[in-house]
Assembly symmetry: C2
Homo-oligomer: 231 residues x 2
């Protein structure tokens, strides 16, 4: 094998900011693991791992994500590469960071082999993190807020079928502001991106809300026609 560059190279990793929405607390949460190995043994950190030669970073990120959550089909987006030489005390490690949106309920965290423990934390109240993971998390949050206002990704934090109130609560939690119920529903429904499944909520002690699902095919069609999702 011929080499392009014979000098020392930085190591390459991926890190995943895994977001979930706690419908009970109306709170955006992030999945963290407690490190089982040095450096930062015992500290909380974002799940991540090394990129193998011959594997692209999307694949690497999805591998890490599946190890933590057991899920394959989740929303995942690369958002920034962090490359400060001192971010890892051992040597120069460059990390490609991703954020994922997962339906919270279906993912009781369980510790992986590399981790002592895994748990969901409110994004408003995260413990001290290993490496530069606090910076990565803050950047991810910023990107998520922007993203949610310009692309219909709110549903990714909910089960496939959801109520309009749940969807509104997702937006309120992520954007950090309350929204007017009637205006929210008007706007969302006027975009024609949601399908009424005909089914309703079960086991609630009041009038059951209608369940909706996101119409991905329709969104793709609208986008091609120049449609722009907003808030």
């Amino acid at each position: 094998m011929s080499f392009t560059y014979q000098y020392a190279r930085p190591a390459l990793t991926v890190d995943c900011v895994i977001f979930g929405f706690d419908a009970g607390e109306h709170e955006l949460r992030v999945l963290l693991i407690q490190r089982a190995l040095p450096p930062f043994e015992g500290k909380w950190a974002l799940p991540g791992g090394f990129v193998k030669v011959g594997e692209n970073t999307d694949v690497a990120a999805r591998r890490e994500l599946e190890e933590e959550t057991g899920l394959k089909q989740v929303y995942l987006e690369q958002f920034k590469t962090f490359s400060e030489p001192k971010r890892d005390p051992r040597e120069h490690v460059v990390s490609v960071a991703y954020f994922a949106l997962v339906p919270f309920l279906s993912h009781p965290p369980k510790a992986d082999t590399d981790a002592k423990d895994a748990a969901w934390f409110s994004v408003e109240d995260v413990p001290s993190l290993a490496f530069d993971h606090k910076v990565i998390l803050d950047t991810a949050l910023q990107r998520l807020r922007l993203k949610m206002q310009h692309e219909p990704v709110g549903f990714e934090l909910l089960p496939p079928q959801f109520t309009l109130t749940q969807l509104q609560q997702v937006y309120e939690a992520v954007l950090g502001q309350t929204l007017d119920k009637r205006n929210f529903r008007k706007k969302i429904l006027s975009m024609d991106l949601l399908i009424d499944t005909g089914e309703v909520q079960q086991d609630v002690a009041h009038r059951a809300a209608a369940l909706w699902k996101f119409d991905a095919r329709r969104y793709e069609k609208l986008k091609k026609g120049g449609f722009h999702f907003a808030l």
Copy 2:
């Protein structure tokens, strides 16, 4: 030195998509170099180079940028990392891509040591490019369009003092649509981000237009107050 990871690692590079605005042709342009070495010897490509251990990618990108343009103080933003194993025929090379906005006139391209030649191409009419650089360029363009609609970066493609018509032409070239003169001026001026320098265009064969400059301090202040630039 202790190593985090003893296995083979991908190589790491940066690539720069350098945008300029040709005021004569009202055209957005990109600076390309013609490769002096294999692979893809003689092909046009984005300027770029390897990231050294101990150097972050912003520094590496700025180094490449300065080699090509001779300029230090330009707008530069990381936008995506490309990591397909086959993107470089020699081995797995991961590239962190940046886009730069430079005032076109002040940068007559001159070939670097690594390049046979360097030249500005209209983004509407680029030659066949080495590696996956066409994909990188297309992604950069998409990001630039988004960016220009949400942040005041249009000026970065112009000299420090510019006319409102020039600014409008930048937006028209980047967004690929014509804009109404009166509405454009009304909107831009109402944001209170431009300062009238009191000077006017020189050496034009008609009424000289006023020269304006961007008020970066004011923009920072407004942003803190929750202001959102749009279009």
